[in-house]
């Protein structure tokens, strides 16, 4: 069962599949060599808007006659609505509309019950108080443990609290275990993390006749449009969703939310525009989180570090959601002929989990890479050598399809040199004294190949101005800037010459800005459109200059005769020859068949642990990633810094904490839900392997949203292991858990 509030229902893996009819690939698509703008350090084209406060976020929008909506939410983790009366709320002065959002059973605290729209926020708040609701409270479970207990109330109407999520077998693990020189089994746990984007979720709905326009704080305008059309039973062509600027999402803003639907319903009833802005508390309770995981890995290994068998068992709890399958990194990353994966969902009475920056991979990597660090220690081996011993060039643990490119070895080299890997404790925990330092590493794999079939339109106007339209989103990653750079580069213009129009479902289709899909989908589509435009403009210039088109170069805002550069036509003069605005349709083509396309990376961290207080200080993180061609180093480095910092924050602080007897979240704010601040920020060094994947698309680039987040909690836990000689085994690694881990070590020795 899924409530409406689950965001996009497709996984990133499903979303990454080529669209039907996507155009075929050439065997070599991306040019080698370097560019003038692409791959450089480019300041954002919209920087001034952001730093002057002029960038318009959904929360900032105001329309004439606009009303403010508030949502009445369930105060119980599980209850039946016996009776509900909206009329007292509607009778309050200033209240213009009220709608019921739910019948029957409520399955989490914070689930929407009803909504009101009033002339101001305070009146809307007061109106919520007047809605009469009679609830029948029902038994609930809000933790993974309680959900599995004997006699626990059943969470889903149609199935038990623990259900199979995923299973996979390769070879024969029992045989592999028998062949091993050493067996090791360890368990790793991760906690519920809440996305907590700076901008809480917000929507503004406006009806004009029977057409609906919604401004939404979303990562996916097309997905929200389709969701609204389905929910309102109206044609998608009459719904338009716009996202201007958006204050962070990290996976929590991928699909239609019920507060958005409520705004549309209220606006329809009131015949006035309605805005809804969620509070921080609503953001903490109602719009998803990263599911928890309890992952047990048992592996067999030869003395030289060769893996013979791995058994991976995962119990994941995503409230009403199915949680995350976490085995993908293990399935692909290391050579291992014998593998068994068993994953189970545990259900509880909270909202559904939502994709959270690198769903599944982050938790799976925390377990897998932590395990390898411990395994290396058992073998007395360098953890880097252990990873290289089981290195692959094909997917499915070297049994499947070859990778088109795999720059992981370069990442290992770049990162280990930069951090000074030889400085690590050869025996974990060997350093004397109260404050111990340690170095750790962790590897990363993630698809990031983009979606073939993504579209972009490039307009050239007769005055020489150029506009690119694409229904993608800039969620802070610099989409506008790389799009401008690609179009400018191809046309011989400057990035500031290109007018970028995005964030509107009326523009050509592009995927959700999630799952590292944007840059490898949108970039190549823009490049394709610009290549078509420059081709036609070259023809026109050649005719005008009376020379063969093959002799024309497009650079510095003109079309010149390469044999006689003085002979040239300006870009605007050539555009004038088009006689009308002309649209060039660009499409992201398929990748060349027969290969697998993945991003890779390795991070290295240095930490300091105070063994008396249990406090961890992260000193330095080196993050080396292979994402194909880097489009804009300036914004790519920012993404890596953010991925590392968020991993640090999750590793040390973040946990959605529940009062299991009341069913409430006890830290539904930004003070008690701890996130990293500037005081916690280590030195972070981003590095790129720069392996252009010429078979993947016409730029050879891959996605970067998820990769730096995948190993960034694992690497800190591993560095702590190297410092104190015991793996904490659980995030967040709060001081109490570090001290308990140290006690365990004492118990062992």
């Amino acid at each position: 069962m899924r409530d409406l509030d689950t965001g996009d229902s497709l996984t990133y893996k499903e979303q990454g599949q080529p669209l039907p009819g996507a155009k075929p690939a050439a065997s070599v698509q991306a040019p080698a060599g370097t560019f003038k703008y692409i791959g450089g350090y480019l300041p954002r084209v919209d920087g001034e808007r952001v730093v002057t406060g002029a960038a318009e976020y959904t929360q900032d929008l105001q329309l004439e006659g606009m009303l403010f909506a508030k949502i009445l939410r369930s105060p119980h983790a599980c209850a039946e609505i016996v009776a509900l009366d909206l009329s007292p709320a509607l009778a309050l002065d200033g209240v213009k509309a009220a709608v019921r959002l739910k019948e029957g059973r409520l399955n989490y605290l914070g689930e929407p019950v009803a909504a009101v729209a009033a002339q101001d926020e305070a009146t809307a708040e007061e109106a919520l108080d007047l809605i009469k609701v009679e609830y029948k409270e029902l038994p609930f479970v809000v933790s993974e443990d309680a959900s599995q207990a004997e006699g626990a109330p059943q969470v889903l109407p149609d199935g038990p609290n623990v259900q199979k999520l995923n299973e996979l077998t390769r070879g024969d693990v029992d045989k592999g275990f028998r062949e091993a020189d050493l067996l090791l089994e360890r368990t790793y746990r991760t906690s519920w993390e809440v996305h907590q984007p700076a901008e809480t979720h917000a929507s503004l709905a406006l009806w004009e006749g029977d057409s609906l326009t919604v401004w939404d704080s979303t990562q996916a305008v097309h997905s929200v449009r389709d969701g609204l059309a389905r929910a309102l039973k109206m044609p998608a062509a009459k719904v338009r969703v716009i996202k201007k600027y958006m204050g962070g999402g990290f996976g929590s803003k991928l699909g239609l939310n019920d507060h958005t639907l409520a705004a549309a319903l209220l606006a329809h009833q009131a015949r006035r525009p309605v805005k809804v802005v969620l509070s921080r508390k609503e953001n903490s309770y109602c719009v998803g989180f990263r599911p928890s995981n309890r992952i047990t890995i048992k592996a067999g290994v030869k003395k030289d570090g060769t893996l013979t068998a791995v058994h991976f068992k995962n119990l994941t709890c995503g409230g009403l959601g199915r949680g995350d399958d976490c085995a993908d990194p293990l399935v692909d990353l290391y050579r291992c002929p014998n593998l068994k994966v068993e994953e189970y969902s545990v259900f509880a009475h909270t909202c559904s989990n939502r994709p959270t920056r690198a769903p599944g991979h982050t938790q799976g990597t925390f377990a897998l890479e932590g395990f390898l660090e411990e395994l290396a220690a058992e073998l007395g081996m360098d953890p880097l050598e252990l990873r290289l011993r089981n290195y692959t060039t094909k997917n499915q643990g070297d049994t499947g399809t070859p990778y088109s490119t795999k720059g992981l070895e370069q990442c290992y080299r770049l990162g280990s040199e930069k951090i000074g890997w030889q400085r690590r404790n050869k025996k974990p925990g060997q350093a004397a004294g109260r404050t111990k330092r340690g170095l750790g590493m962790a590897s990363q794999i993630w698809p990031g190949a983009g979606v073939p079939g993504t579209l972009a339109d490039l307009y050239v106007y007769p005055d020489g101005s150029v506009e690119v339209q694409c229904g993608t989103q800039d969620i802070g990653c610099g989409t506008r800037t790389f799009m401008a750079a690609i179009a400018a580069e191809t046309l011989g213009l400057e990035p500031k010459d290109i007018i970028i129009k995005i964030g509107d479902s009326d523009y050509p289709w592009a995927p959700s800005s999630g799952g590292s899909l944007t840059a490898p989908s949108v970039g190549p589509a823009v490049r394709d459109a610009a290549l078509k435009a420059v081709e036609q403009l070259k023809q026109l210039a050649a005719k005008k200059l009376n020379i063969p088109a093959g002799q024309i170069t497009a650079a510095e805002k003109k079309f010149s005769n390469s044999q006689n550069p003085a002979q040239a036509l300006s870009f605007a003069e050539a555009a004038h020859e088009l006689r009308r605005e002309t649209v060039f349709h660009g499409e992201r083509a398929l990748w060349a068949p027969g290969f697998d396309y993945q991003t890779f990376g390795a991070q290295f961290a240095e930490v300091e642990v105070d063994t008396e207080t249990g406090r961890i200080r992260v000193l330095r993180v080196v993050a080396a990633h292979d994402i194909g061609r880097v489009l804009n180093r300036q914004t790519a480095e920012s993404q890596v810094l953010g991925g590392v910092l968020q991993g640090l924050s999750a590793a040390l602080f973040e946990q959605k904490t529940m009062d299991t007897s009341l069913g409430r979240m006890v830290n539904a704010n930004l003070h008690d839900y701890k996130v990293a601040t500037i005081e916690d920020c280590p030195e972070i060094i981003p590095l790129f392997a720069d392996v252009v994947d010429e078979r993947l698309n016409n730029l050879g680039n891959k996605g970067l949203g998820e990769p730096p987040r995948i190993p960034s909690s694992a690497v800190i836990a591993n560095a702590v292991f190297n410092a104190i000689g015991v793996h904490v085994g659980e995030i967040p690694m709060t001081p109490d858990k570090v001290l308990q881990a140290l006690k365990r070590r004492e118990g062992r020795s």
Binding site: Y57, L72, L92, D129, A198, G476, L645, N669, A676
Partner: protein, 213 residues
């Protein structure tokens, strides 16, 4: 803001949060702030108290050099007045309880959380927001440094960081690394761009000291 809905007297619930927020405006604020909060089903109930009648108070603010006169309710925050009434949405509402710094503005040159400052407390004082930082169309050196260093991603927390950073540089033109961290430790950047934010403040400091604007 129209306030027809809050004219009548009736029982109200004061949450601890509302009470603390109200403390900024003294005892009256404490009871009246209740009307703004805690009706969503997510907030546990508090004690019932009888509120006083709301009375709008005339105030004079100087915002970005421009003097404005308006009537505010005792419970109204400076953030609310700036965003909803003066239409200056550059100052952001993120937590609305003094935890994240996105709403930072300068009050008589000092950085304050405008979500925790009652508008009435800003009476006859100078308010500077992100919209008023670029003098005569020229970006403040810190704004320029944020662009040059790419010191943001989604940009939502950026106005708050820039205002906090500008206040620091005003008070201390040559801050040490630790002083920069301390001055910005009350601001949260969820995208995690702290390293570049730090670099931007340091770069702006250098630039301002060398006399370049």
């Amino acid at each position: 803001m129209e306030n027809s809905s809050i004219k009548k007297k009736r029982k109200k619930t004061v949450t601890r949060r509302a009470f603390i927020k109200g403390m900024g405006g003294g005892a009256i604020g404490a009871t009246l702030a209740a009307g703004l909060l805690g009706r969503d089903g997510l907030t546990p109930g508090g004690q019932n108290v009888e509120p006083a009648v709301f009375e709008a108070k005339p105030i004079t603010l100087t915002v970005n050099g421009k003097t404005v006169r308006l009537e505010v309710e005792p419970r109204e925050t400076l953030l609310h007045v700036l965003r909803e009434r003066l239409r200056l949405p550059g100052t952001k509402r993120t937590c609305d309880r003094g935890e994240c710094g996105a709403c930072t503005v300068l009050l008589d040159g000092k950085p304050v959380y405008s979500c925790m400052t009652l508008a009435a407390r800003a009476d006859r004082r100078q308010v500077r927001t992100i919209e008023g930082l670029a003098a005569g169309g020229n970006l403040h050196p810190l704004q320029q440094a944020f662009i040059d260093k790419d010191a943001y991603q989604c940009g939502f927390c950026t106005p708050g960081f820039i205002m906090a950073g500008a206040a620091l540089l005003e008070a201390n033109p040559s801050p040490s690394g630790d002083q920069i961290k301390a001055a910005l430790s009350g601001n949260i950047c969820r995208c995690g761009n702290y390293q570049k934010i730090h670099e931007a403040v340091a770069a702006a400091s250098e630039r301002m000291r060398s006399g370049l604007k």
